[in-house]
């Protein structure tokens, strides 16, 4: 490739990333202060930096951030999602690390022993104190003073278990339960010789490929009002166990959809674990209970917490499940941010909440990283022998299989219920439909090529985005792997950031900048397409980068010394060798974009609504039958390519 051409392409990529990622993120921070869009693009196009600064100085103030503490649905939305106790624990951790850092700067080197002792106990203490206080404060405060008490803002519930929920936080609870289930399953598939353990690993595809809005729909079909299981239980005289719209419902759906992230990361860590370590523990005199806590768990902590982090960001930013299943009285951050913009066009509030979401996730990420690095845990290295002999005790194997089957039966039942609803023709008060029909699927098929077909829209939006994302990813991954320029760190960050930004926050950022001239792209298909590219391209970048790094530069150098030009080398050597990684990444881009709801719902013109948004709206309107049929088609479109990526080995990263 000639030098000018390379420069031109680099400039184009940089401009694209700046326009659709850098500027929106900057703008969302600014709008959180100004309260209305800043016309960042206009000022930049005119080169009028002083004008921009004057405008900011004129308009910016802290009132939206101050409003966070004054507006009940804001701070409760935040605490309901994250929880006061985890927040206190993270703050305590940060405090401990900060104090140690200050000690290191002011006094001298920190003894390594302190480093391990300081963080964890302080963290647990803060966590415990907040939980205790949150649960017990209503007993301690006289009834008439309760509504004025400051604890009322943290945990207003009347029942003690309700207060516990509020103190622990929804996403944290989902993360804990998902990590628990995922940990059990990972151990079962990686360390026991239970029958069908390869099948169990494969079955993890199903919850991973199930779009969250379909999970919400399936829950309604299964356990909501008039759901199949609900009808069965009512027929047996057991009453209704779940409300269709409740915290528990949302928690169950998220837990059973997101736990496979933990299975992926933890099973990978277990596979790589060095068998001789656990043997050394045994010979040195440690019974299994002791070595589990002192050797195995600390060694698995990096994998376990990485999986937990993925569950947390999914749960925290998951607009679909939370907006469909959370009851009205339970504000939650991501939904409140959406309501601020879509409902009342409150730019300041929506931007402030979006900034807060991104900051929260970055803080959690930083805590996870420093916890793993400073907490006395060691990342399991790749030279392991596969963890040694598998556990073969029959009753343990049977127990593990039963647990895995029980966990996996939930997503399977989800899909089964949705399929049944989509096929039902007549369904009165009976437990099962009395007649079945394929007419809904026929309807989808006959509408497929009409102008307003949601499926056609999906393809029209996703496929060009896919092409663009793959081309961009190829260039970016190649630059990341081969370049030594300082700017590659920036590029690296730019391709990781979209992973952690909740869709709603990103949509708020995009609308803030493309709402008016000079680039009035809001409510055009172009913006949706570009948003897909920016937010989904990281899949392709990461997976291509992984293959490129394995490849090493020597083959390309070999080709060049044989006289091949740069582009010939790319076409004949590099691309053929990284094709599996690139394909896996491309498929991940495809299925992830097909699932998107938040960004599409907020930025897409109704004429272009894809299948995901179509299903989401049908669910909102309560039309579960059409939604189920479309949902099943969508699931098929996602599941088949997903299984393909799994075979290509592209899901190992857990992203």
């Amino acid at each position: 490739m000639s030098r000018p051409l390379r420069w031109l392409l680099s400039a184009l990529v940089a401009a694209f990333l700046l326009l659709f990622l850098g500027l929106p993120m900057l703008s969302v921070v600014l709008v959180g202060f100004t309260g209305e869009p800043v016309d960042l693009l206009g000022f930049l196009a005119r080169g009028d930096l002083s004008g921009l600064l004057a405008r900011l100085a004129d308009q910016a103030d802290w009132r939206y951030y101050a409003g966070f503490f004054e507006t009940r649905r804001y701070y409760r939305g935040f605490l309901n999602a994250v929880g006061a106790a985890p927040l206190a624990a993270v703050l305590a951790w940060g405090l401990a690390r900060g104090l140690l850092g200050a000690w290191g700067l002011l006094v001298g080197p920190v003894p390594p022993r302190w480093r391990r002792r300081a963080g964890l106990p302080l963290m647990s203490l803060a966590f415990g104190v907040v939980v205790l206080a949150g649960v017990s404060w209503r007993f301690l405060v006289p009834a008439e003073a309760q509504s004025a008490h400051w604890m009322y803002h943290l945990a207003p519930s009347r029942s003690w278990d309700g207060r516990l929920w509020q103190i622990l936080g929804f996403s944290t609870l989902v993360t804990l339960s998902g990590t628990f289930l995922g940990g059990i399953m990972a151990w079962s598939v990686a360390r026991t010789a239970m029958p069908a353990r390869h099948l169990v690993r494969w079955m993890c595809i199903l919850p991973l490929a199930l779009p969250p809005f379909l999970g919400a729909l399936a829950f309604r079909n299964l356990l909501g009002e008039g759901g199949i299981l609900t009808r069965f239980l009512e027929a047996l005289g057991l009453g209704t166990p779940f409300e269709g719209q409740s915290v528990l419902a949302a928690g169950i759906v998220q837990t059973f959809l997101f736990f496979p992230f933990v299975v992926l990361t933890t099973a990978a860590a277990l596979d790589r674990m060095d068998a001789s370590l656990s043997e050394a523990a045994r010979v040195t005199g440690a019974p299994p209970g002791f070595s589990l806590w002192t050797v195995h768990l600390p060694m698995l902590m990096p994998g376990l917490t990485a999986g937990a982090f993925l569950v947390f960001i999914r749960s925290f930013g998951d607009f679909a499940v939370l907006s469909l299943l959370m009851p009205i009285g339970r504000p939650i951050l991501v939904v409140e941010a959406y309501r601020d913009l879509a409902g009342s066009t409150d730019w300041g509030g929506a931007s402030m909440l979006s900034t807060l979401m991104v900051l929260t996730i970055l803080a959690v990420l930083a805590t996870q990283k420093s916890f793993v690095e400073g907490g006395g845990f060691e990342t399991v290295t790749g030279r392991g022998t596969g963890g040694g002999e598998l556990v073969r005790t029959p009753w343990i194997c049977r127990l593990c299989l039963a647990a895995c089957a029980a966990i996996l039966s939930v997503p399977v039942l989800f899909v089964a219920a949705t399929l049944l609803v989509s096929l039902s023709a007549r369904w009165g008060v009976e437990t099962l439909p009395t007649a079945y029909t394929l007419s809904r699927y026929e309807g989808i098929l006959s509408r497929l090529l009409k102008a307003d077909s949601p499926l056609l829209n999906s393809f029209a939006l996703v496929l060009p985005a896919l092409l663009l994302a793959v081309l961009l990813a190829l260039g970016i991954a190649w630059t990341l792997a081969r370049s030594h320029h300082w700017s590659r760190h920036l590029l690296d960050f730019a391709t990781v950031l979209p992973f952690v930004i909740p869709g709603v926050a990103f949509a708020v950022a995009l609308i803030g900048i493309f709402n008016g001239p000079p680039l009035a792209l809001h409510l055009t298909a172009t913006l949706v397409l570009c948003a897909y590219v920016v937010t989904r391209m990281p899949f392709a970048v990461r997976s291509t980068l992984a293959s490129l790094q394995q490849l090493g530069p020597s083959l390309e150098e070999g080709s060049r010394t044989l006289g091949a030009t740069g582009s010939l080398t790319l076409a004949r050597v590099t691309i053929p060798l990284i094709l599996p990684g690139l394909t896996a990444g491309a498929i991940m881009v495809f299925i992830s974009a097909m699932q998107d709801v938040a960004i599409t719902l907020m930025t897409c013109p109704p004429r272009w609504y894809p299948a995901s948004v179509f299903v989401f709206q049908r669910i909102q309107e309560g039309d579960v039958f059409d939604a189920s049929a479309y949902g099943m088609v969508l699931l098929g479109l996602i599941l088949v390519p997903y299984a393909l990526v799994w075979r290509l080995g592209g899901v190992r990263t857990g992203l």
Partner: protein
């Protein structure tokens, strides 16, 4: 100090027989090596003693007691692994103290166990444990590295930490599984002397697995050479080297001249296509068998010098080895390797010179042809 007894040990992995009827007795305080090529079953035998593998048959006795049903953590062994198996998430001190904490944990009640778990996780060692850890680290000359992580140590230092971890609990038996395999040659020699010195001072019964014959010969009280899951010969290093009973062993240990031979009258053998030589060792009455002579037992004969057995040949190759010169001498179709002292007639010898070589009768070993 304990005695280790292995009686008719059998271990199968699926259809492959890894250890086949192995019986060994290791005395109190003895340094006993298992020597063999990779895949000969020596590591599996060691792991059966440690309790890391369940034998398919036979008995493992510690001080005369069968430990078949005793789990690894109750056998009171100390083991040094080939890759050291240091816990990467613990400091050196925590690694060494691990066995002490684990023993406390085994003896403790439920509540105390919880306390010990917290101790282990937050790395608060009881002061007496800390003293013993310091003592063990002093034994392996690693004072002052208590707070390092294994990743920050060199290979040799990691090796010493692993040794300290195995020693600190004063185990009944020390087990070494190719402990020096990952070190470079110079360090290997240093560490094996160190291991021997420490073992002798602590007086702990030791079972040492290695594929390196030099290592085994230099440190062991006794060696068992294994091949294909069976013990070929057991004995002190000198005996194995000087009096191998089988062709396999003669070939396996050291450099040797091995030839096929047949009987030629009392006390004399005829090498196939070679000379007739006398031997003091028992000769089978008929058939072919193997004979062996160590290169250093062969002697160059000067003019007029006589030996009970001798032959003439031509020098094919002359290699300077430091203290000795190695000569390859062709005599008919047979090639003999000689190791002759530097000082002497070999100095002037060059390729193509004709030499006369003498063999003492007791140096010509007659071997059983094991498969």
């Amino acid at each position: 100090m304990s005695r280790v007894g292995i009686r008719n040990l059998v271990k199968r992995f699926g259809s492959t027989l890894a250890v086949d009827q192995v019986s060994l007795e290791v005395g109190e305080g003895e340094f006993f090596s298992l020597l063999g090529a990779s895949g000969c079953g020596k590591t599996t035998t060691l792991r059966c003693v440690a309790g890391l593998e369940t034998p398919s048959g036979g008995e493992i006795l510690l001080d005369g007691q069968d430990v078949a049903r005793v789990p690894a953590w109750d056998r009171d062994c100390g083991m040094v692994f080939q890759n050291y198996a240091l816990f990467p998430h613990m400091t050196v001190a925590d690694n060494v103290a691990y066995g002490l904490l684990a023993r406390r944990y085994r003896r403790a009640g439920l509540l105390q166990r919880l306390g010990l778990l917290v101790r282990a996780v937050s790395a608060c060692l009881p002061s007496e444990d800390l003293d013993r850890v310091r003592e063990a680290l002093a034994t392996v000359e690693l004072e002052g590295l208590e707070e390092r992580r294994p990743g920050e140590l060199s290979g040799g230092q990691q090796q010493r930490v692993a040794l300290a971890r195995a020693l600190v609990t004063r185990p009944r038996v020390l087990l070494f599984d190719e402990p020096l395999g990952a070190l470079d040659a110079r360090l290997r020699v240093k560490m094996r002397q160190e291991i021997r010195r420490i073992q002798r001072r602590a007086g702990i019964t030791t079972l040492y697995v290695t594929h390196d014959q030099e290592e085994a010969l230099s440190v062991s009280d006794r060696i068992a050479v294994m091949n294909r899951g069976r013990v070929v010969q057991v004995g002190p290093p000198e005996e194995l080297y000087l009096r191998p009973r089988t062709r396999f062993l003669a070939d396996f240990i050291g450099l040797t001249n091995l030839f096929a031979a047949c009987p030629e009258g009392p006390g004399r053998v005829r090498l196939l296509e070679g000379p007739v030589l006398p031997t003091t060792h028992a000769i089978p009455a008929q058939g072919t068998f193997s004979v062996a002579v160590r290169p250093e037992s062969l002697r160059l004969l000067g003019a007029g010098e006589e030996a009970p057995g001798s032959f003439t040949g031509r020098v094919q190759l002359r290699m300077f080895m430091g203290g000795t010169i190695r000569l390859v001498v062709a005599s008919g179709p047979l090639e003999w390797t000689l190791a002759v002292p530097l000082a002497g007639c070999a100095e002037k010898l060059g390729t193509g010179d004709e030499v006369r070589v003498g063999v003492e009768p007791e140096d010509l070993l007659v071997l059983e042809d094991s498969q």
